[in-house]
């Protein structure tokens, strides 16, 4: 589906297990993500999808297993380190600064790229001005890309839900990520907003060559835009493959529709 040719494996998890006390959120999950692909993680509620994403960008630390990113191997990720290495994400519940404008919110995504110290920025000395201009330009290009010029100076809290989601995507993009983790980017949207969002996700993948890992409940969306799908159920991987393979997989059908228990 994606525009650029899918490349080598860039990110992989190997036999990752994560438990909160006695609750096993993930058990021995392994899968890989190739460069430039759109990779979907699906599964019923509580299957461990968001936990998986949180492991990938270092919010949760797995008890077992390895994460391999761009040839380096980690026991677990540190969230700051993950961001510095080019993993950005959006959240299931929008996590923007409601009182700040769209522009400023996206600007916060550039944080890791700013090199001037606090004093230089405050006094507008040294390279601070040039740096600010560069970042502003990068942000404006994202605003243009996501077609949100008309709300540039509007506080995020006043925007409709669909637009807030788009701003959050913009903030993640501002970090110029190599891998973008999207946690239910279409949840709660109407048909038109979903179509827009799909288009933006594909455009991001195509235009910036960003690798995308997304969690999504809308099967239509998943089947349409992803290259490969991994299916989780009760913290275990039950299927992995192209959308059509996954759709025909009996385990997946059972997990979603339930199985009749014979007495």
């Amino acid at each position: 589906m994606s525009g650029r040719p899918v490349g080598e494996v860039t990110l992989s998890v190997e036999a990752v297990s994560l438990a909160f006390g006695g609750v096993k959120a993930l058990s021995e999950v392994s899968f890989d993500v190739r460069e430039h692909e759109v990779r979907a993680i699906i599964g019923p509620n509580g299957a461990g999808k968001s936990s998986m994403l949180n492991v990938l960008n270092g919010v949760y630390h797995p008890q077992q297993g390895k994460i391999r990113f761009q040839g380096r191997e980690f026991e677990d990720m540190d969230s700051h380190e993950a961001a510095a290495m080019g993993i950005a994400r959006t959240f299931q519940n929008i996590a923007l600064f409601k009182g700040m404008t769209v522009l400023d919110n996206i600007m916060t995504g550039r944080n890791l790229k700013m090199h001037c110290n606090f004093l230089q920025q405050a006094l507008w000395i040294g390279p601070a001005r040039r740096e600010e201009l560069e970042h502003r330009r990068a942000v404006e290009e994202i605003i243009d890309f996501l077609e949100i010029q008309h709300v540039r100076k509007t506080p995020v809290g006043r925007l409709p839900y669909g637009l807030q989601k788009r701003v959050e995507l913009g903030r993640a993009l501002a970090a110029e990520p190599k891998v973008l983790l999207l946690d239910e980017p279409m949840a709660g949207m109407n048909l038109e907003e979903k179509q827009d969002m799909c288009r933006f996700v594909l455009d991001v993948n195509d235009h910036f060559g960003t690798t995308i890992v997304l969690i999504e409940h809308d099967m239509g969306v998943v089947m349409d835009i992803s290259d490969r799908v991994v299916v989780l159920d009760y913290g275990r991987k039950i299927a992995d493959g192209s959308p059509s393979e996954v759709r025909g997989n009996q385990k997946v059908i059972d997990a979603y529709l339930g199985v009749a228990h014979s007495a």
């Binding site: 243009d144 008309h150 195509d206």
Partner: protein, 652 residues
């Protein structure tokens, strides 16, 4: 300004002239990446040179037509001027037209080259490619989303520019020769009429027929290189093209292109244009927005607004025209200016407006007075695609709400016995493209253009338009029936968005009404009246009552005008859907297609002229989530009170 029109008789010659005499002045600005980016006349002329050489390299030749589809962008206008440099004829097309509507102009003029702004327009052109075998090259500006388009027809603008730069470097004299070959009598551009009636016609204009009226009007208003205009209407419409091309090329003023259609209001505030055009519909929307925000003020603020607007209403217009006003009123007005009118103009982005025009349809007297009373020099003008816009302009100091002003210099007017207006002017079009029959019908042997508009000239020499000649009919008893005149009167009420009147060769007048969803929605909210959408709102008894009051006020008004007192509206219904250009009920410029509406809803018309109190309607409707369904309901029909004609006396 010592410019010699004699030598500078084409668009490209004017452009190169400006690059020489005011090369460092801004020619065009565009808000891009959040900043107003400026192109000086010199930069703009260079861009045009390179694009022209690029187009020449692709094989664009003298006399060929060149389609342009897109919004107001510097590159759009650069490409247009580049085509003119080569003697090719730009044909701007409406950017919101659907693909099938674009096929006709391209087939009609055997167009080989096109310019498209972005992916949306490229997709449309590619869609009609099979029907348009002549179309060879499509140059596109914004590459977003087009990376994987491999069609051999597509040429990115940047590549065209690069190739052109190379060509120009090799042979700079080529272009100067091409520009010098052009003369005022050559065809400069072709505009397709919006097609209120039947198939669109290509209106052919020469350089002279566009530039001469543009210059006359610019001189009348004293426009110069320091002026700024915001180009926000479709460039395929001749008006926008005259304001953002012909007049800019004549005077050297600056064109500002907004960032996106949603940002026009904010961009206008930032740029502060000195020269402004808005059709009455836009002015009305602005006023509605202001009124709604005033309604939300605390009571003291609302009172002050009401008080000072009443002051402005009494004396604002007179002060603007320099007429005497008592000193007390004048002081009050200055107080209002300080606290209300000035800030209000600023919010509207009209603080610097020197000249504002409105045209296209009749403007409500209250609406017109509102803008003038707060100190905006809004004036009406009359013109059409065939006359290069400027036929009549209200001069400063002689502005009347119900006329469009006297003829501008060089324009002759006369009337047929049927009251049809005929025009002869330097701005008259050359012909309808490949349509000799239509040309001879519209333009007679002596060069008079038959406008199809009915009207008369009042004792002060001002033109007053009442309706289209073919729509002016008669009731069964032979009295005059001018539907548009009635519809305009109805539309001046904020709660009525659109009206369609029937009555030709019938015994009485009846009407369809479209309510204004914003205004009526607001009204309903204030009354705690829940509703689910337009259709629901339109069927409410309370809303019918509201509309009935409006109609009865129009009827009372009509009773005072003896000639048309009989065309008072007897019965009406509120349509279950908004009339829409996509359904063919309005033109792209949002004029009602009365005949098509009448045919489409003939059962409703029949019911209006029967005795029934309701009529059943079934229609396919599309919900906002993309599903479609069948709407079926009974539309109510209600009577309105009519008044006895007050012979020879005008009602208050």
């Amino acid at each position: 300004m010592a410019t010699d029109i004699g030598k500078l008789d084409t668009f490209p010659k004017l452009l190169m002239h400006h690059a020489l005499v005011r090369g460092a002045r801004p020619a065009i600005r565009e808000k891009d990446l959040g900043i107003w980016q400026t192109w000086t006349w010199k930069e703009f002329a260079d861009e045009v040179r390179f694009v022209a050489c690029g187009l020449a390299g692709l094989g664009l030749a003298r006399g060929e037509h060149f389609a342009l589809v897109g919004d107001n962008r510097p590159r759009f206008y650069a490409t247009m001027a580049a085509a003119q440099c080569l003697g090719a004829i730009p044909v701007p097309l409406y950017q919101d037209a659907v693909a099938t509507e674009m096929a006709f102009p391209i087939q009609n003029a055997s167009i080989e080259f096109a310019f498209a702004e972005d992916q949306e327009q490229v997709d449309k052109l590619l869609e009609i490619l099979p029907q348009c075998p002549t179309l060879r090259k499509i140059c596109f500006d914004d590459p977003k989303g087009l990376r994987h388009y491999a069609q051999p027809e597509l040429v990115p603008y940047d590549r065209l520019l690069e190739a052109g730069r190379e060509n120009y470097r090799r042979d700079p004299a080529f272009l100067e020769t091409e520009i010098a070959k052009g003369s005022g009598g050559d065809t400069a551009a072709m505009f397709f009429t919006s097609g209120t009636t039947g198939v669109p016609k290509g209106v052919v204009h020469t350089h002279a027929s566009l530039l001469v009226p543009a210059r006359t009007a610019a001189e009348l208003e004293g426009l110069g290189e320091n002026d700024v205009i915001l180009a926000y209407l479709p460039p395929a419409w001749i008006g926008q093209n005259i304001f953002s091309c012909a007049q800019a090329f004549v005077t050297g003023y600056c064109i500002a292109c907004p960032e996106a259609s949603e940002t026009v209001m904010a961009d206008m505030r930032e740029i502060g244009p000195t020269y402004y055009f808005a059709p009455p519909r836009v002015l009305e929307n602005l006023l509605t927005q202001v009124s709604i925000r005033i309604q939300d003020l605390w009571w003291g603020g609302r009172w002050a607004y009401g008080y000072f607007m009443a002051v402005a209403n009494r004396v604002g217009g007179k002060i603007l025209e320099g007429k005497p006003v008592p000193i007390g009123e004048r002081l009050l007005y200055y107080l209002g200016e300080l606290f209300l009118y000035g800030p209000l103009r600023n919010v509207l982005g009209m603080s610097r407006v020197k000249v504002g025009y409105t045209a296209g349809e009749a403007i409500g007297p209250d609406l017109f007075r509102f803008y003038r009373s707060i100190g905006i020099n809004l004036k009406q003008l009359y013109g059409s695609t065939e006359t290069a816009v400027f036929v009549c302009i209200q001069p400063d100091g002689q502005v009347k709400p119900d006329t469009v002003g006297p003829a501008v210099r060089g324009v002759e007017l006369k009337f047929t016995p049927e009251r049809e207006l005929l025009i002869r002017s330097p701005g008259l079009f050359k012909e309808y493209y490949r349509n000799a029959q239509a040309t001879s019908e519209a333009k007679d042997a002596e060069g008079w253009f038959h406008t199809g508009d009915a009207g008369f000239v009042d004792p002060d020499g001002h033109l007053k338009i009442i309706d289209r000649v073919k729509d002016v009919g008669g009731l069964a008893d032979g009295t005059l029936f001018a539907p548009k005149y009635l519809e305009n009167k109805l539309k001046f009420f904020p709660h009525i968005r659109e009206a369609v009147c029937f009555g030709d060769r019938r015994d009485r007048v009846c009407a369809f009404i479209n309510i204004d969803p914003d205004a009526v929605g607001n009204w309903a909210e204030k009354r705690n009246m829940p509703y689910s959408g337009y259709t629901d709102l339109a069927s409410r008894d309370e809303v019918y009552e509201l509309v009935r009051e409006c109609i009865e006020r129009v009827n009372a008004d009509l009773a005072g005008e003896p000639e048309i007192a009989n065309s008072q509206i007897h019965r009406f219904l509120i349509l279950h859907k908004e009339l829409d250009a996509d359904d063919g009920e309005l033109t792209r410029t949002r004029k009602v297609r009365r005949r098509i509406v009448g045919e489409k809803y003939d059962s409703l018309v029949a019911a209006l002229y029967s005795a029934s109190r309701s009529v059943h309607v079934e229609a396919q409707i599309k919900y906002e989530d993309g599903r479609s369904g069948i709407y079926s309901a009974d539309l109510k029909i209600r009577d309105a009170k009519v008044f006895a004609p007050a012979a020879g006396k005008r009602a208050a």
